[in-house]
């Protein structure tokens, strides 16, 4: 299908009734969403040109160019001076948790500046993923100093106090202390509520972290609502990366609620927006999640290209574990679409790769899925040996005991020569769900 150029569409939009190719263009537009979108953009601009407001705004813009006021310039200088001072003080401390603790920055008056507070919570933000416990020490210092400064009215803006509490909440979330994290987020939100300078963007950060806590702690509906609200604010404020992350969380919440179609739609939007930004990690995640949702709605033809693109991205980024997991998903897709031979090959690669990386439980699940597929394909010869070597590992004693019972049942079936694909799937599903339902006891297949 030949698309119309923007110039051709613009000529048509200028005077549709008199356009020489009116009929051809209109019949093409009826079946071409891409050209319809381009025409809609042209018509939107042409339509807005008829409104007086854009012209008034343009006249305003052309008539005024005064420089920033001295008050603003002074504030910028103060911020820079304090930031430089904070860097000099913190630079030798921030590389070592021990050195930082020994410095007792909360009690040192040199750190009692707004710039130091900002430097501390920004440092904590950077440290959270690698050294969350150290990040917590750093952000606690930020909260403590900001609180003192706010009490003595020497904090330049309460935005910094709110941000310090917010970063504390984020760090606590990373550590898994959800209750403490929520308390810290409550404080941040309450500070923002009372601060006239705080905007929807500041509060959206609180909502986004809270949404994550909700999703992680199985309050999925609440998490979805918060993620939606956060996404809206981030979009208004042009913070596209955070917007996409909030939408990704929303897609995950929808997936967990079982609304796979809506989850796929949300993920499709992320893919569309992440692609031109070359945000490969986000794109890879959205592709993978979207494919998972399509797999569960049995839209296999849609899932396949998404998995393949995600696979290529992990390969490009050198993220081996993600690549192995996508290969695993591709194996599941092969099995579901009847390509058992290809599925067996991929599952074999998957469990071996996971074992090589020491990812014990996932390797066990992949082994069992391979065994199940071999049985379905009528190739039972290697299955007993494959399944005898299944190993799982859980830190929780209770979960470990439950897993052992399930595996004993599997071993008994091997020894009694009564293995079946359904039986293997039954054990596999139980082990797969155990981390999310740790108290559930294993029941033999009926």
């Amino acid at each position: 299908m030949r698309h119309y150029s923007e110039e051709e569409l613009a000529d048509y939009a200028f005077d549709p009734r008199r356009h020489a190719e009116k009929g051809d263009i209109e019949s093409h537009l009826a079946g071409c969403p891409e050209c319809r979108d381009r025409l809609a953009f042209i018509e939107r601009i042409d339509g807005a040109l008829r409104e007086p407001v854009p012209w008034e705004i343009s006249d305003d813009i052309r008539s005024e160019t005064p420089p920033p006021s001295e008050v603003l310039r002074n504030r910028a200088r103060i911020i820079d001076d304090e930031a430089a001072g904070a860097r000099a003080l913190l630079s030798p401390l921030i590389g070592s948790a021990l050195r930082f603790r020994n410095a007792r920055v909360e009690e040192d008056a040199r750190f009692h500046t707004t710039g130091a507070v900002a430097a501390l919570y920004r440092a904590a933000h950077e440290l959270t993923e690698r050294q969350p416990q150290f990040a917590l020490v750093v952000v606690n210092a930020a909260v403590s100093i900001a609180t003192k400064l706010a009490a003595s009215k020497s904090l330049r803006s309460n935005l910094h106090l709110g941000r310090a509490y917010l970063e504390r909440g984020r760090t606590l979330f990373h550590i898994g202390r959800y209750k403490d994290a929520e308390q810290s987020l409550d404080r941040a939100e309450s500070i923002y509520d009372q601060e006239p300078e705080a905007t929807g963007w500041d509060v959206a950060w609180v909502w986004l972290i809270r949404a994550n806590i909700c999703v992680e702690s199985e309050r999925v509906v609440q998490g979805r609502v918060l993620a939606m609200a956060a996404a809206r604010q981030f979009r208004i404020f042009g913070d596209v990366v955070r917007y996409l992350n909030a939408r990704l969380l929303l897609a995950s919440a929808l997936f967990m609620e079982g609304d796979y179609r809506a989850s796929a739609e949300a993920a499709e939007e992320i893919i569309r927006l992440a692609r031109p930004r070359r945000n490969l990690l986000l794109l890879g995640r959205a592709l993978q999640n979207c494919a998972e949702a399509y797999l569960l709605t049995r839209a296999f033809d849609k899932a396949l290209p998404l998995y393949l693109e995600a696979y290529a991205i992990w390969d490009e980024l050198g993220l081996d574990l993600e690549r192995i997991r996508t290969n695993w998903s591709l194996a599941t897709l092969d099995v579901e679409t009847g390509k058992l031979h290809d599925g067996i090959k991929r599952l074999d690669e998957t469990y071996r790769a996971l074992e090589a990386l020491g990812i014990t439980n996932d390797a066990a699940l992949a082994r069992m899925q391979l065994g199940e597929t071999l049985l379905r394909a009528g190739q039972p010869e290697t299955v007993p040996d494959l399944l005898r070597n299944v190993v799982v590992s859980f830190v929780s004693e209770g979960m470990m005991r439950n897993a052992r019972i399930a595996l004993a049942y599997l071993h008994e079936a091997i020894n009694q020569n009564r293995l079946s694909a359904d039986l293997v799937r039954h054990v596999r599903t139980y082990i797969e769900q155990l981390p999310f339902q740790p108290a559930s006891t294993f029941l033999p297949l009926q």
Binding site: F14, A48, I61, I94, R99, T114, E129, D239, L317, P435
Partner: protein, 298 residues
Amino acid sequence: MRRGGGRDTPLELFLKKLGLPPMQVVAEAQRVARQLGLRVAISRQHFGRIRLGKQRATEEKILLIVATLRSMTGLAVRATDLFLLEPALGGISMSALMGRAEPFRGGTRRVSIFSLPRRFGSWGQFVDDERPSASETLEALYREHAAILRANARRRFNIIEPDDIEGLLNDVFMSYLERQPQAEDVRAFLLGAMNNACKHYLRKRKNEAPLLPEHEHTPDSSTEEEIERWTLFLSLGATLARLGTKCRETLRRYYLHDENPDSIATKLDTTIGYIFQLLSTCRRRAREIYRDLTEPRR
């Protein structure tokens, strides 16, 4: 972490892609360790074993390698870009979603090893501070966005007093400088903050003095439709301000004043064909500027 096998480790892949000789990395690591006052060191043989996945690196050594590669390349590379750090256990469906749900791994930093080098902070390799100075930020942003923020206050919120508008503008820029939010679309961020400031101003004013008739019709900016409409108007206003005089005048006459091309040609003492050509060219130019102003910069 990887324990052998035929494929390159992420660290090895990184070194190869950037053409970094391992010996040079080891030498730089010694310098970085000294600079940071770290007691950890990496020998050539040890680095070789870590690089090839034959030996695990301790947390301190991982951090030293990350710091070294940041120092050598100026890229905000992270430990997870270079080492396979084992994630929590979990079944595939959940791990595929839960791991991707949280917001902090989704930024550009994790993938920054393949993006353009960025300014590297000087205060220790473990902490990024890539923000430009507040003074530089102020001059650049003010020059680019102050006029549209003023227009927004005046046209959207009907705030007439120039001193009040300047006061609001100062507040918005001050809180921007305090935050330095690293948003992709700075104009949208500033406009959001300006809307917020204008609403506070009007609420406060309502309590202090009776509203003038023009204030009674402050648009309800909370609906999606209103947000879209004003985003279009403001972006188009900025677009028109950048058009040349001839284009502005032709488009203004045709679209705003609803003059027909014949009449425009007569008034401008030219041919109707030239006016049609101008209209076509100026509309295209306006769309180009609009896109440039509103689409993400790569």
